[in-house]
């Protein structure tokens, strides 16, 4: 018998600290798989966020440079400008990229920095215990919106990917999810395309990934994957939001 699925080369032999059913570890694995397939492990630099994935450098076995909360795109910009032959990606949660890091992210996209940004959207602040994030859905309960998010009181969810699509420097923005085998495969293709966009030096690319957070959503992992399909995609439809790259090889 032949081994057809195993831990990718660039994922360390470690037990993830994430909760059962968390999407972060799936996305870590996908990134490690894509890095291995593209053969860019020795020249990739990651920028982990503040949040649950702050310890991403304990799992993804490439060079990493930790960024302060929200500053992923700014730190990645610096790394990419100093080391233009390297592949730089930032990995950020929704609280990180859409709340405290909004300014950095929008300006990096507008400048068309040649970096890949992975935006993991779980519609709450996961690490601190499930408070309302800018991406929390209307009517969604969180510890700071008991009774559900109210548009008048708490504002509507921020569609960061759509905002970034307006920026002139962004070339490829897609929203995917990791809640089903089909969506996981699509997410992997999107991550691959984002890296290839950067390798071709075309500009700013971002993949928004809807990711289950069963503990803070107060669901089982299986219920959380269904909730993404039934509820979350109504606010955040899964689609290619901007693509001026087209088909890309190499």
């Amino acid at each position: 018998m032949q081994k057809v699925f195993q831990r990718p080369k660039y994922l360390k032999q470690a037990v993830f600290h994430y909760c059962p059913g968390c999407g972060h570890s799936i996305i870590h694995r996908l990134i490690a798989e894509v890095i291995e397939e593209l053969g860019i492990g020795e020249k990739t630099i990651g920028v982990p966020p503040a949040g649950c994935a702050v310890l991403a450098y304990d799992y993804i076995d490439v060079d990493m440079g930790e960024a302060p909360h929200g500053r992923g795109a700014a730190v990645a910009t610096g790394l990419k400008r100093v080391l233009p032959d390297h592949i730089v990606f930032s990995y950020q949660g929704d609280g990180d990229i859409a709340a405290i890091g909004t300014a950095e992210t929008i300006h990096a996209a507008n400048r068309g920095e040649s970096i890949s940004v992975f935006f993991i959207n779980n519609a709450c602040y996961g690490m601190t215990g499930g408070q309302m994030a800018p991406t929390t859905l209307l009517g969604q309960e969180s510890t700071t919106t008991p009774g559900g998010r109210n548009e008048k009181r708490d504002a509507a969810p921020l569609d960061l990917s759509e905002i970034l699509a307006i920026a002139r420097g962004s070339v490829y923005i897609e929203r995917t999810a990791v809640n089903s085998p089909r969506n996981i495969r699509k997410t992997k293709r999107a991550i691959t395309k984002s890296f290839k966009t950067q390798m071709a030096g075309l500009g700013f690319s971002l993949v928004e990934i809807l990711s289950p957070c069963p503990v803070n959503w107060k669901m089982t992992p299986v219920e959380a994957t269904k909730w993404i399909d039934d509820t979350m995609v109504k606010t955040y439809p899964l689609k290619v939001i901007k693509d001026t790259v087209g088909k890309i090889d190499g």
């Binding site: 018998m1 032949q2 081994k3 057809v4 699925f5 195993q6 831990r7 994922l11 037990v15 993830f16 994430y18 909760c19 059962p20 059913g21 968390c22 999407g23 972060h24 570890s25 799936i26 694995r29 089903s180 085998p181 996981i184 495969r185 069963p214 089982t220 992992p221 299986v222 994957t225």
Partner: protein
């Protein structure tokens, strides 16, 4: 077993018992073990004993959805 197409190995000490592989397996060949692992979860296990009519095809869907990379898949 003769004519077997595929098989999986689940690392019990990596599994957190999230049930996603159980939900994903098209042939319902994964169950939950009744003893806790070192992490304090009831881990998933490959139900090799009662799969006379349903066999693992090595489709790797369980490994694809596993958040903890606890599953290795083998195929003929």
């Amino acid at each position: 077993m003769a004519g077997k197409k595929g098989t999986i190995i689940i690392d019990r000490e990596l599994c957190k018992g999230c049930y996603l592989c159980i939900e994903a397996c098209p042939n319902s060949l994964i169950g939950i073990f009744d003893e806790l692992n070192q992490l304090g979860y009831y881990p998933a296990y490959y139900r090799e004993e009662n799969n006379k009519d349903r066999e693992c095809t090595g489709c790797a869907t369980c490994a694809l959805v596993c958040p903890d990379v606890a599953i290795e898949v083998y195929r003929e």
